[in-house]
Symmetry: C2
Subunit: 347 residues, 2 copies
């Protein structure tokens, strides 16, 4: 086994519940705007073109591996490619954020949704995965990902980002059965999409329930968790580790563990590592959770806080990560200090 | 004692730690845009003019008392009047939100801040309190309020609302001592401002740490909690109950209780009532926490959820409220169903 292959094993070993000598490390949104090399690609192509062009998606997926030495790559894509492939035209304007040309609120709009996996509509993602996997050549494992059903449903109902989720939550209150059908549909679609990613070469997959925090606990348990669990279990049956990350629902870690059976549970930066460990026990692999804004600080401080974070997660398997996506204005030196601090850690 | 005076007592009795036969009830932002009568006033004057005109502030403060029968009034004002009185020109544009003409980031900008209580700059708030108190004539108690130091500091550093608090949190990371001085200054100013409100007639006061959730736990405990506790204790020394509400920091309820000694601790809608009760014990008065979007639902559902919420808070003193400010597009019927459901409650 080469040194590189040992490193590859580190991430997957932690996913499988092993307490590794040091935690493997990667960063959510690590192929992103904080990297000048990413911005150079982005200057030539808009965000969605990058997603849809396997050469470009592969290029930026590899950047943090080559430049920062992370222990896992995650395919460059977007959670909203699923609703788009279901028939909602997507635009992403700088400064405005993603926006759909149609919404899903009525029975008719729900009935009009298409199977996102039919007609090769998402083939560009699978091609990018195959291509990235080949170019990685075993250096580090490749993750696939998808948005969780509730997060996708909220976008599809609202049609865009929102502060209060008034439209989506009004639908849950007024038409719970219809909302449930949309969520079930998405649970199935997301699960199958993750399986397709695994078949294309993804070695682990992460479900992002980015808007978990928009729902009160009772509603999260009733509406969001069952279809999330379904998607996770469908993906898991394909034989790779599944990571579930539900930022803003730190209270739900035991329920997420029980319902999804996730190999790894993500912890957001609002949740104390010790509380998370206590909530799920020492057998459960956890991933997280440095506050991304801490990377603004001087490197010595980043290093100290990273080591503090690792110590706080001790007592069970841990994958070091941020507790949210890295912010676009993060200094590269801060990101590098974080990665290096994890890699130099010895228990 | 008249029936009205008994009702008055209900809110203050709960504040003082008594488990009342039914919880008293009011709603954060109850004098707000969901009321047609509020919008009628707002059509004639912009938001800041309403704050600065005691007749108008009094009028809208009384609306939910007269129209919905809440058990407490809260003076119509804004948390940003303090930074404005410290020398930061404030504008509030519909759809854009509040914005300061200056920010506080450098030593010079910090040194230039003025005493917000000098020269009667906030006299308009105190006049509104005196006038509202007189017009209430003992029907229900009147609350004063202020923004907590961290929330105000974040606005002053950023200059406006923000998604990631990148500028404010970068300052905490890079210039912690300067940030600390700003927070200490605000802790003292906010405490004195609340005392002035009590002297004008406020019978209880609430501290809103609206952006508590923007800080990771370690940072909240280090930067935000000490000046919040200082302000709370200064206010409490004036002899009225103090309510502390730090949405997004549900994990911190025990620490907030210990540090601030608050008579009442607010609970946001992300936090389960039973978890909150367990975290602080049966002696501690709690306030909250219905998800405001639940008021979108049919009245029978609002009623059921309100009763469920009251049951979940049992085991100690409770003031029924929403877990966040009421949303502008809330149907009045939903707000009314909430208030009525609490008032009809019998244990």
């Amino acid at each position: 086994m080469t040194a590189a292959a040992t490193e590859t094993a580190l991430f997957l070993r932690a996913c499988q519940g092993e307490t590794t000598p040091r935690p493997p490390v990667w960063m959510m949104r690590q192929a992103g705007r904080y990297l000048p090399e990413y911005r150079a690609v982005r200057a030539k192509a808009d965000f969605l073109t990058m997603c849809r062009t396997p050469d470009l998606a592969t290029e930026v997926t590899l950047q943090p591996v080559d430049l920062l030495g992370v222990d896992a790559a995650i395919i460059f894509s977007d959670i909203l490619v699923i609703p788009e492939a279901m028939g909602l035209p997507l635009t992403v304007d700088e400064g405005v954020g993603p926006r759909f040309g149609k919404v899903v609120r009525t029975e008719a709009e729900l009935a009009a949704l298409q199977d996102p996996l039919a007609d090769g509509k998402l083939e560009y993602v699978l091609t990018a995965i195959r291509q990235t996997r080949a170019e990685l050549d075993g250096r580090v494992p490749l993750l696939g990902f998808a948005g969780a059903p509730w997060t996708l449903a909220a976008y599809m109902i609202e049609g865009q980002g929102t502060k209060n989720f008034s439209v989506a939550k009004r639908l849950l209150a007024e038409e719970p059965a219809r909302a449930q059908r949309l969520l079930d549909l998405l649970g199935e679609a997301v699960g199958r999409y993750l399986v397709a990613q695994v078949e294309a070469g993804a070695q682990a997959v992460q479900l992002f329930d980015s808007w978990a925090g928009a729902l009160a606990p009772e509603d999260y348990l009733r509406f969001a968790l069952p279809p999330l669990a379904h998607a996770a279990r469908v993906a898991q049956a394909s034989g790779v580790p599944v990571i579930v990350f539900a930022p803003g629902a730190g209270w739900a870690l035991p329920e997420i563990k029980a319902a999804t059976g996730a190999d790894v549970i993500g912890v957001d930066w609002h949740t104390r590592a010790r509380d998370a460990r206590q909530a799920v026990g020492g057998q459960q692999a956890l991933q997280g959770n440095l506050d991304p804004t801490w990377l603004y600080g001087p490197p010595a401080q980043v290093r100290a806080r990273t080591h503090e974070m690792i110590r706080a997660f001790q007592g069970g398997p841990h994958i070091a990560n941020l507790g949210h996506g890295i912010l676009p204005d993060t200094p590269v030196a801060g990101a590098r200090a974080f990665i290096d601090a994890v890699k130099e850690w010895t228990a």
